[in-house]
Symmetry: C2
Subunit: 156 residues, 2 copies
């Protein structure tokens, strides 16, 4: 067991729900994220990819190698896992390993043409706008985009 957060034990009614507008907004967003997770899992399953494999493949760009340790960083996992993940993607002809010219320790992972097709299909599935957002008026949609752009620009 990890360290317990003392504050959590003494703060009552954490499950009662959010109170401030921004907390309510964040709670709504987490609902959306929860739904989105399921869509990602089913999209990956449709192409017989495990979530980690799909996640790695979706990061790759045409004609650009991505070092394995960067994939590990994006997937938030240890580098040793990437070996197996890339092994399986490579065995299915979706990616290739290419030794970096600048640093011969590094292996660049490059998508094949087949890999790019699957990647694009996955990206297209995830790019589909959730029903609720699509039902907003055009004005509200622009408003939402502008708010989010402002929020993410502020944190960058």
């Amino acid at each position: 067991m990890g360290p317990m957060n003392p504050a959590a034990a003494t703060t009552p009614d954490l499950s009662t729900g959010p109170s401030s507008p921004v907390q309510e907004a964040w709670a709504l967003l987490r609902n959306l994220l929860f739904i989105e997770r399921r869509r990602f899992l089913s999209a990956a399953a449709e192409y017989d990819l495990h979530p980690a494999q799909a996640g790695a493949l979706m990061q790759l760009e045409r004609d650009e190698g991505l070092p394995m340790h960067e994939i590990a960083s994006l997937l938030a996992c240890d580098s040793s896992n990437v070996t197996g993940i890339v092994d399986r993607l490579e065995a299915r002809g979706l990616v290739t390993r290419r030794v970096s010219e600048r640093d011969r320790r590094v292996k660049q992972i490059v998508p094949t043409e087949l890999g790019l097709e699957v990647r694009d299909a996955l990206r297209a599935r995830m790019a589909q706008v959730p029903e609720g957002l699509g039902l907003l008026s055009a004005g509200d949609q622009r408003l939402l985009r502008d708010l989010l752009a402002r929020a993410l620009a502020a944190s960058a």
Copy 2:
């Protein structure tokens, strides 16, 4: 390999990015989701819980049993997995199994006091509002909440 989507192969520039405001809004939200996933993983790891264990624990309510097949549905996994996940939560004293009085096939999973403490700590971590949202003006925060409430109400 799953079935290939013919449309994906013939649609150019899927990686060029979104075009309409709502597509842009959705792309921004997916960035937020990506960050959120990492926060969930590190919160679970802090309490020595695997993601599935943390996900299950976070769904439980005090004095309310949750049937194992409902946990499977929430986690989007097969029921057979829930046996092991609950086994490990139970071995650590975080939950208990209780045979349902109405249907003796069903086992209700109930959090212990320790389980509730860990659950609350996890929920508190996930309830923390991302930096960018917190930096919005009070008016923008209300606007964002209202927009999202409208969007999710429309899809329900």
